[in-house]
């Protein structure tokens, strides 16, 4: 079952990267690319799930952190 690991403004913390099993810069980089690829700004709020999914405030999937790392 998936659960939310980040839904705050700003850059994800070390706890988020640990939960995903990757380095923090990789999460930041992935999130940056996902937001840019969706026409969003850095300040736009998104939710990160423990399966790597990234969704917007309406629950629409924007991408997956792991897709941007591999």
């Amino acid at each position: 079952m998936t659960s939310i690991i980040w839904s705050n403004p700003g850059n994800p913390t070390n706890e988020v990267s640990r939960a995903l099993g990757v380095e923090r810069w990789q999460v930041r980089r992935a999130l940056h690319r996902i937001k840019q690829g969706q026409g969003l700004a850095g300040a736009d709020r998104v939710t990160i799930w423990n399966d790597g999914s990234v969704t917007d405030e309406h629950g629409i999937v924007l991408g997956n952190v792991y897709d941007e790392i591999s």
Binding site: H32, G37, Q38, A41, V61, L62, G63, N64, I69
Partner: protein
């Protein structure tokens, strides 16, 4: 036929360079955006592009998504292997402001397209540093040129 132009939409590039902690992106977006037209002017294949309402492949885990607006996105870490952010921005400015004898004026072409189709341009800069490391200084000539497109510029700088 130019293969660059024939592969312009719904693409996620295969990486040629290892992921970096420094890069910039150039993005055009708008509901009437046709990615092929941007690729045609800049003569480069984007990192990702799709039209509004188009179903595109976002990756093995995300699967297929639907574009809520048109996007043409180029990430410089697909092309530039450097830890110097100014080199990444230099790549973008050379892409936009290049004028060769065989090339029509790219800047004029982009401006015309942006005005006609209601397209906006956005540049983002990504940097991730070591603890205590100072963020990079960006040369004003790059930002002046990009704002002149016009593009808005966003910085995403942070450290461990």
């Amino acid at each position: 036929m130019n293969t660059v132009l024939s592969l312009a939409t719904s693409t996620t590039r295969s990486r040629k360079i290892a992921p970096q902690k420094v890069f910039a992106t150039l993005r055009f977006s708008g509901d009437r955006l046709d990615p092929d037209r941007i690729s045609d002017i800049l003569r480069v294949r984007p990192t990702k592009s799709y039209r509004k309402g188009e179903r595109y492949f976002a990756g093995p885990r995300a699967g297929h998504l639907v574009g809520h607006t048109g996007i043409w996105l180029l990430a410089t870490d697909d092309f530039v292997a450097s830890a110097d952010l100014n080199r990444h921005l230099g790549y973008l400015t050379s892409l936009i402001f290049r004028t060769a004898d065989h090339d029509k004026d790219r800047l004029a072409g982009l401006r015309e397209l942006m005005a006609r189709d209601g397209i906006t341009a956005h540049v983002s800069c990504f940097w991730h540093g070591e603890p205590g490391e100072q963020p990079p200084s960006i040369l004003p000539e790059a930002t002046v040129k990009l704002r002149d497109l016009p593009a808005d510029i966003e910085m995403d700088f942070d450290t461990d």
